[in-house]
Structure formats: C-alpha cells, structure tokens
C-alpha cells in the first residue's frame, strides 16, 4: 500500500513487542437505519400515490326546444329504446312499444351489447341510399374518419335511453359507455313514460 514514509531506514517495518500498529478504522457504516427509513418512505409514497388520474367522459345534450318542428324525427325501423331499472337490469324494445308490451324484453348489460350490435347490423343491412347521405359522408371525410365512406350506413340507427328512478348513476354511465364501445353515433336520453315504467315494475315484481 502506498504510504508516506517519513522515518529513515527500516523504522516503518519494525515489528515486535512495544511497537503498536495504528488501528485502521473501518470505513463500513451501519446502513440499517438508513435502509429502514428508505423503506418507510417507499411505503408512504406507495400509499399516497394516485396512479390513475381521473378521466372524463364528454356529454353533450341537445338544446331544449319548444318548437315541434325542431325535434329530430327518428325512423321507427332504426330505433332501439333501452330502459334502465333496479338491480342493474336493462330492458329494451325495438321500434315502437306495442300496446301489449310484447316486444318489451328484459336483459342485462351483457345482453344489451349483443342487442345493440345486432340492431346496428340490421340497420346497416337495410340501408337505402338517400341524396343527403353525401353530406354525411363529406362531414366524416372532413373529420378524417378512415371509414368515411361507410358513414351514412347507420344513419337511421338511434338509441333512446330512458332510466327510471331506481337506476343508478353507474348504470347511466355504463350505458353511455356502451354507446362509445359500439360506436353508436346517435343516441338520446329521454324521460321515461309511465307505461314503460309500469312495464319495468311489472317485470321486476315477478
């Protein structure tokens, strides 16, 4: 080892009784307390960390209008009404509700997705071109929609969402989500009618 030898001769190498070698201090430090503290901090930060930042779902509601002619006309052939009830139950009917309520079908959130997809396919299959479809296509093209040529195919498909007083906010968000998931372009949230609510209540009562 390199060391400065100030003494002359072999004085530095003298070994024997009476000559004490300077005690070498260990450079090792006990790291345990530091590690302890480190882990304490890790646990603290893990617990306080908010990893998932909240996301938002945009919701645009139509302007309320008193004028009858402003209301959007929907084709009954492409309409699907979804009703939300108690205990995460979902009900639906296609087109108009028959007087006997024969087309009123109960399902759940898994079933409703299949129904939406089925109905959408059906509407696309029954598509009849109209002159105003070009406008829709142009708009989709401007939006840089890769499928702009197909933009008008499902133009008649409208989902009407109605929830009764037993439906939860979660159900509402879930069904709005379902619209995003299945790329339903036109949907509306409408107040439930008494007839529909009675049908829900009657089905729940069984």
């Amino acid at each position: 080892m390199a060391s400065i030898d100030s003494g002359g001769g072999d004085s530095g190498h003298k070994k024997g009784p009476g000559v004490k070698k300077a005690k070498k201090l260990s450079t090792r430090v006990d790291m345990t307390p530091m590690v302890d503290l480190g882990f304490l901090l890790i646990t603290f930060f893990i617990f306080t960390a908010t990893m998932s930042s909240p996301t938002t779902m945009d919701l645009n509601m139509p302007k309320e209008s008193d004028k009858k002619e402003d209301e959007t006309k929907i084709k009954q052939s492409g309409a699907l009404t979804i009703l939300l009830g108690k205990n995460n139950k979902v009900y639906y009917y296609e087109g108009e509700l028959t007087e006997t309520g024969s087309n009123f079908t109960p399902t759940d959130f898994v079933g409703i997705r299949k129904e939406i997809i089925k109905k959408k396919q059906e509407v696309i299959k029954n598509y009849t071109p109209e002159p105003k479809d070009e406008e829709l296509k142009q708009k989709a093209k401007e939006r840089k929609d890769p499928n702009w040529e197909k933009a008008a195919l499902d133009k008649d498909f409208v989902v009407v969402i109605k929830a009764n007083e037993d439906a939860t906010y979660k159900n509402t968000v879930d069904i709005l989500d379902e619209m995003t998931i299945n790329a339903v372009k036109r949907f509306a949230m409408v107040k439930i009618t008494d007839t529909e609510n009675k049908l829900i209540k009657a089905t729940e009562g069984q």
Partner: protein, 211 residues
Amino acid sequence: MARKSTDTDMTPFVDIAFLILSFFIMATKFKPPEPIPVTTPNSVSSAILKEENNMLITMDKDSKVYISINAKKDPEKLTTIIEDLNTSRSLGLSPAEIQNFKKTLMVGVPFASLKTLLDLPADKQAGVSQPGIPVLDTLNNELIWWIAATKRAFANEKLLYLIKGDNSSKYPTFEAVINAMRKNEEFKYNLVTSQEGAPEGTELFVERLKK
C-alpha cells in the same frame, strides 16, 4: 472449518430501494382533499381530466348533491359568486362569511342553512354532515342558482362543468343536475370516471387497435 459470514452485501438492494423511492416521489401527485368519499364508475373514455377552471358537482352514494368551484387563477371569482348569490337570494351573509366561502371546499346545504355553514371555520366544516343541495324538487332546484351565479362570474373565461357521481347515486339526481344545466343553457359537461379498457371484440376495441 472457517465459519461462513452471514453478512450479505446489501448495497444493490439498497440501490434498488432508493431507485423505487425516487420513482414514487416523482410520480406521486397528492390527492386533493376530498371531504366526501365518492367511487366513480368506470368508463372506456380515455380523455384525461384537464386542470382548468371548473365547477364540480358531486353526487355521493346517498344521492346528495355538493358543489365546489375551483378557480385556478383567480380565487376572487368565488367572492363574486357568493356576493351575487347573497344579493339575488338575500342570504344575509356578513363580510366575514363571504370571505370564508373562499376557503370552503364543498357546499352541500340549502340556501337557508348556508349562513350557518359559513359561520363555521373552514377546517371545521368537514365534520359537519351536510344535507345536500336540494335538486329533486323541480320548482326549487337550487343548483340552477349556483350554476347561474358561477356562469356569470366566469363569463369571459373557460369553465368546465364536471359531474362526479358515486356508483350508487340514483338516476333522478343525475337528471335533476342535467336539468339545472339545461335551464342555464349549458349543454356540455364532463363526467368524471375512472379508466377501463375497451372490451375485446367490440368496434371501439378494433378502432383502438388500429391506432
């Protein structure tokens, strides 16, 4: 036989530990104080909540409605709002109570008891159970007034309307909130949700795969 030392070299272990520690320190963003616990529903929406001026309408699990207004740049806006309401609804608030509104995190009381709430120091308000802003009565939906006053105060600025609902809050409350917005000619709002992935095989899933 020489006894083997039980000492292990802890250095790499400690290195990793501190690496993790620094990661968490940097990645952590502290939760803003939440006086009311709300479990938001999941949605496939992936837009991150922007930090802007916002009016947050919270619906808790018992369908009680609370509001909190976050003016990021100009806290004086809150004073404008409460003064506006003080005159329009004749609340009879004292200047001290008006000042206290700035520190109030959340308001969930009818106008009639707003004075009592603002009498309390801000740090004591959290302990008080608030009955929620009355919204369900269509004739006396007090949220309309709150939104109107906030809208006036932020007339020249961007304002986000956030609706944060608990999973088990009921639909009529949500509808009443929407109606209050509609009465104020506001048709665009953001629902605060937690993120979840798009279900496999659906159109959205296919679309996201392409990107």
